[in-house]
Subunit: 329 residues, 2 copies
Amino acid sequence: MEVDEPVRLPRLPRVAVCGGTHGNELSGVYLVRELLKDLREKDAEDGGPLSVLVVLSNPRATQQCRRYIDVDLNRCFSHATLNGPVPDASPYEIILSRKLNALLGPKGGQGAVDLVCDLHNTTANMGLCFIAYSDSDWICLHIFKHLQMPDMPMRFIHYDVSKKESYSLDSVGKHGFALEIGPQPHGVVRSTNYTAMKVGVQHVLDWVRHFNSGSVFEGGFVDVFTMVKKIDYPRDSQTHNITAAVHPHLQDRDFCLLRPEDPLFQTFSGEALTYKGSEPLYPFFINECAYYEKGVALSLARKRRVAVPPIRAQTEEDKQASFASEEEE
Amino acid sequence: MEVDEPVRLPRLPRVAVCGGTHGNELSGVYLVRELLKDLREKDAEDGGPLSVLVVLSNPRATQQCRRYIDVDLNRCFSHATLNGPVPDASPYEIILSRKLNALLGPKGGQGAVDLVCDLHNTTANMGLCFIAYSDSDWICLHIFKHLQMPDMPMRFIHYDVSKKESYSLDSVGKHGFALEIGPQPHGVVRSTNYTAMKVGVQHVLDWVRHFNSGSVFEGGFVDVFTMVKKIDYPRDSQTHNITAAVHPHLQDRDFCLLRPEDPLFQTFSGEALTYKGSEPLYPFFINECAYYEKGVALSLARKRRVAVPPIRAQTEEDKQASFASEEEE
């Protein structure tokens, strides 16, 4: 019988936990504040092998309980935006994204933190979601496997975007993901969501500590939802106002298969509009508040099962062997 | 057997339906837009005995999908605010409240519209609520009785505030009430809430038409929830940030009796805090988004049953008799 040898991956000594990237998504805002308090209290006792950087990403938007001040911070971390010109009158978040890239990055560079976990909320009924740009980052997929909790549905969403084009704060780390929880109105904190996110972050940090200490993690399978398209609301051609809401049969049914001719919208005059796609797909971010302005009523994903190999952290010997083999090449 | 003679009340020829008083409460925003479209289409055919004025109250806040621009419009209609000085640099909503008072009022004057129905949303799990300043306005209580719908809990909330001190837009009419529906995140429209509000407004207008045409409405009883106090979140004494969320056992349990020592909050470090009041009361507006800044985590009400007499509209004969009796006095 052949047993898979674990894939050996670099340790993750520096992790960042970020909240308030959107200033009105309060689970992350209050969790980060609590973690900062904990860290201050633990400063003296803890000098362990894991450095955790806790960041309130957009303090001004958080102060005003708004998603952003000028532009959406979580769209400012593409290679092009981080390296474009910065005129004097730049939007607040453009300046801020450079500062965060200096703190947590530089994106794509050796000095970047090893893992960024960025905390978000959605008004959609999505439970706890793990959102990443890669379906073959074994660190992210193993953390996701470790995060399964009873009573809390948990899915892996994959945006198939290159590292260079990836635009969100979590893309600044060597590995990164967003932890998204809903439903929760923006500007509101619901205790069960807060607690689930707190437990989730504890599990992430526990996993990283085990990984760094040399534990071997068994392989397995993960269901991955890869985003394939977005659907906008029907709109008035002149005013651009929406003319329909998400249909009651679709509302709150994130990750339930949407089939051709299923109801999609209900117009404000009462007419049902159906899904005209040819392929059954999985809807998510259904009726997310912040996406009205982005022209997205829901996103649609294809689901597939990804095989994840066993992994463990590289030892000093592995590293030396790796150096040696590189020198031989 | 004694049969109560119906109370005779003036007809209600002019009704206003208002939405977007808070620009991010979208049921009313989209319903008012739909009604305005309907009205344009019906203009030619309809010259009936009921004039319905449809108003998008805060167009600028609606445009920006914010509750308000400078100050909360729905707190600007007290006698003092409407009659105070208006300096050049007045907040947008102070100016706006004068314009709305000119359009729908003047508040307390004979020229005011007969009934104002103002449409609102809440993030709290309150179903459909009828909010008024009086528990003895038979018009409002009869409309409320008429509004009961299957599958949609419906309650009457009473703020015991004098006409002069009453501060909301609906206080400008001779009669007035807010129609509040939730749960719904601000900035989101949910189809079932939209439809319930649409049906509710249709029932209000149907009732007024029947009343004006001389129908007699039987008396009965209404459960009235009178607000008695508000409770703020626990807060950090230095930063004023909240330090706890509504307890999971209380969240979404609007109008379920809260007893002394029942859980009230859960701190962000995980501790449960209980209700220290001495009297069991009914909570509502639990965890309403817009009330964080107002220092209100929930409101508490006493419930009691109010007897409502039968009513009908005054006829011309009633009016003449009334004039005659006034002259005799």
